[in-house]
Amino acid sequence: MSSADKQKHGNLEQEFWRRLHDAEAQPAPDIWSRIDHELTVQENSKYKNRLVFYRQLAAACIALLMVAGAAFFYHFRQDALTSTGLQPGIASNTATAAPEKTLKSEAVPEQESINPQQSIDAVSSINNATPVTEQSINSSVSESIAIADVPSQNVASQNSQLGNYASNSTAASFQKQKESAYTSNSLVDTRSIGAPKPQVNTETSVPNSMITVGATLATDESTLVQPQQNTLFPSASRAIAAVPSSINSYYKTAAQQLLLNPDANSNAAQSIDKQLQQGNKNLQKQNEALVLALNKEAGGGSEKDVAGGNSRWNVSMAYAPSYFEQNIGLPERMMVAVNQRSFAAKGPSISSATSDNMEEARDEFAKNTKPAFSYSVDVKAGFKLKNKLKLLTGLGYSQNTARTKTNYVIKQFLFKPYSGERSQLAPSTVFLPSLNNNFTTDSISVARTKNAFDVDYRYEFLTLPLGLQYEGNITKKWYWYAAGGMAANFLMKASIDADTKEVQSVAYSKESESPFRRMQFSGNMSMGVGKRISDVVTVSFGPEMRSFLSTLIENPDKAVATQGKPYSLGLNMAVNYQLGKK
C-alpha cells in the first residue's frame, strides 16, 4: 500500500472523525430519571450498610465490654476470696494459717444471711456433681451483667427495689454464695431443705439465685419463658423483659417441691437437672429468635447487600511461638539478713557457707536465666473499619516461660513442728524468696546440688486483645500487614517447676495467694506478610512483640528482686477466614 493510498484511506477516517468526534445528540429524557433512581437506590443501600456497620460495631463493642467487664469483675472479686491452698514458697506470716480462718469467717455469715439462695445454689452444685468451675463462674458473671440490666428497667413497675437488688446484690453476693455452695456441699441436704420459708420466696431472692446458679443454670430463662411464650419472640427487649416474672414462678415451684418433699431431695434435684438440660436447648432456640428479631430490624435490603458483597467480618486463628524475657533480676546484696540467721542446714554440702552459696546462686541466676520456648494462641474476630483497616479483638491464651539452669537449692524452715521436713522449697536458688521481702522463716540453708538442673518459670495468661491492623497489597496474591494494640492479660497460673526431685514445684492458681500480678496490660505489635490462598482464606506470618506495661510481681516495691517489665518476641502465624463472601 502506497503512502498515497494511506492518505486516501486516512481521508475517510478523518471525515468520520470530523463529523462524529464532537457530535451531539439529545438523549432520551428518561435517561436522567433512570440515573437518578439508580443513584437513590445506591445511596439508600449505602446508608443501610452504614447502619449495619454501626450496629455491628456497637455489637462488637458491647460484646467486648461485657467480656472484659466480666473478666475484670471476676478477677478482682477473687481478691475477696482467700486461697484455700497454701503455697510453701512464700514464707509470709499471713500465708500460713490465716486463709482458712478468713474463709470460715466469711462463709458463715453468708450462710446465715442468704439461706434461700444458698439452697438453690446448693441444688445446682448437686446437679453439676463436680464443683463449679472457674469458667462457669465467669460465664455466670457475664450473664449476671447481661440480665441485671434488664430487670432494673422492665420490672421496675412490679417492684422498684427488685431491679436494684438484682443488679447490685447479685454482683456482690454471687461470689460468696458460690463459695459457700462450694464449701458446704455436705450440708446441703439438711440445710437447703429446711431453710427456705414461704415468705423467703420473694421476687428478689429468686432472680438472684437464678443468676448465681452458674452457667448451666443461667439458661433457665428459656425454660421459664417457655410455658408462657412458645413462639419466637418479637423483639429482644420483650423477650428478656418476660423473663423475671416467669423465673419467679419457676423457682417458686422448684422451691416448693423441695419443701414438700424433703426426703426426695435428690429426685427433685434430678428433675431440675432435666429441666435445665431442656432449658439449654430452649436457650439456643431463644438466641436464634433474638438474632432473627435483631436482624429483621436491620432491614432486608442490607442483608442482601452484606450477603452479596464482602462481609466486614473475618475470623482468624493465630499461633505464635516466642521467647519470653521475664525481666526479673536479683539485687547485688541479696538477703543480707540471711547471714544473721541460724543455719540449720541439712543439705549435702553443709561445709560451704550459706551466704557464699547465696551469692553464687545469685550470680548463677543472673547468668543462666534465659528466655525459654513460649507460645501464644489467639482466636480473633476482625471487623473491617475501612478499606484496609481492621479492628481486631478476641481471646487468647499465652504460656510464657523463662528458664534458669542452676545448682543451688534454698531451704527455708519454719519454727513450726513440721520444720524438720523441707517445707519451704525455693527451687531456683534465690528466685522465689526474692519475690517477697518478709522472710519469716526460722532458718535458711543454701545448698549446692551435684547436678545442675533446670528451673522453668511459667506464666499462663488469658488474653483479651484489642487492636488495629492495616493491610496493603504487595502483589495480587501477597499482602503486608502491620498491627498494634493492647491486651489485657489475666494470669491464670504461675508455676515454678524444677527439674529435680529435691525441689518442689510451686504453682499459683488463680485463687491462691500469689506474689504475681493478676492482671496486666501489654502492648502488642506485629507485622508481616500474608498470602491469599483463596477468596476467603488467607495465611499470614511475621514477627510479633508483646511488651507488658507492668512488672510480673504485684508489689515490686516490696520484693527484693529488681523488677523490669517483661516482654516476649515471637513469630506469629495466622489463618484468616473471611466471613460471608460470595
Binding site: N11, L12, E15, F16, R18, R19, H21, R34, I35, D36
Partner: protein
C-alpha cells in the same frame, strides 16, 4: 516602600497558591458530595456528546441508553478518583467507552466473529461526509458488525492505535488492523451505495 512591595508580592504569592476554584471544580465537588442538582448539571453538560458515543458503540439505541445510564452512574460513583490529569470530558468519555466494551463483552458480541461479508476493495476517492446527516452516519456505523464497529470507533474516532485496541479487546495488533481495514471497506461500500446526488465523484465499481 520596600516592605510594602514585599507585602504586595506575598499577597500575590498567596493568590497564586490559593487559586480560586473553577466552576468545574465546584461542580465536581458538588457531585462527589452527592448533591443531586450538581450531578444533574454535570449530566446535562456532557450527556449530548456522550449519547453520540454510546450510539456509535451500541448496536441499537436501547443498548446505547443502557450504556449511558450505567456509564453516568459509574461517573458519579468514581468521580472522587478523577485525578484531573486530563479534561473531565476525556475521563467521562473513557468511562463510557469502557462501559460499552463491558456491555458488548457481556452479550458476547465481541468474542464471536459473525462477519462473513467480503470486503470489496473500492477505489476510494476523497470522501466528503458533510452532506450526510448524523443519523445517517451513525446508521452506517451501527450497521457494522460489532467487532468491526468497535475497532473502527476506537481507531478512527477515538484515536487509539492498533496496539492499544488489541489490548482493550483482547486481540492481536494484526487482527485489529485487518478488522479495521475490513470495516472501512464496508463503510466505503455503504457510502458508494448511498450515492448522494450531490457527490462529486461517483464511485465506479
Amino acid at each position: 516602600m520596600a516592605s510594602y512591595g514585599r507585602e504586595a508580592l506575598n499577597r500575590q504569592h498567596l493568590k497564586l497558591f490559593t487559586k480560586p476554584k473553577s466552576d468545574e471544580d465546584k461542580l465536581i465537588e458538588g457531585c462527589i458530595a452527592g448533591k443531586r442538582d450538581m450531578q444533574r448539571l454535570l449530566y446535562e453538560l456532557y450527556s449530548k456528546k456522550m449519547m453520540v458515543i454510546c450510539l456509535r458503540y451500541a448496536p441499537t439505541s436501547f443498548e446505547a441508553e443502557d450504556i449511558m445510564q450505567e456509564g453516568f452512574v459509574k461517573v458519579f460513583n468514581n468521580l472522587q478518583n478523577f485525578k484531573k490529569d486530563c479534561p473531565l470530558e476525556f475521563w467521562i468519555r473513557r468511562i463510557m467507552i469502557n462501559t460499552a466494551l463491558k456491555l458488548l463483552r457481556q452479550k458476547q458480541l465481541l468474542t464471536v466473529s459473525h462477519e462473513t461479508e467480503e470486503a470489496v476493495s473500492v477505489a476510494a476517492e476523497a470522501t466528503n461526509l458533510s452532506d450526510y446527516s448524523l443519523d445517517e452516519l451513525l446508521g452506517m456505523i451501527q450497521g457494522l458488525a460489532p467487532r468491526y464497529r468497535m475497532v473502527f470507533n476506537l481507531y478512527a474516532i477515538e484515536g487509539y492505535n492498533h496496539k492499544e485496541i488489541g489490548e482493550m479487546l483482547g486481540i492481536s495488533e494484526g487482527t485489529s488492523k485487518s478488522q479495521f481495514s475490513r470495516a472501512r471497506a464496508i463503510l466505503q461500500n455503504m457510502l458508494a451505495r448511498q450515492d448522494k446526488p450531490y457527490k462529486e465523484n461517483v464511485i465506479s465499481r
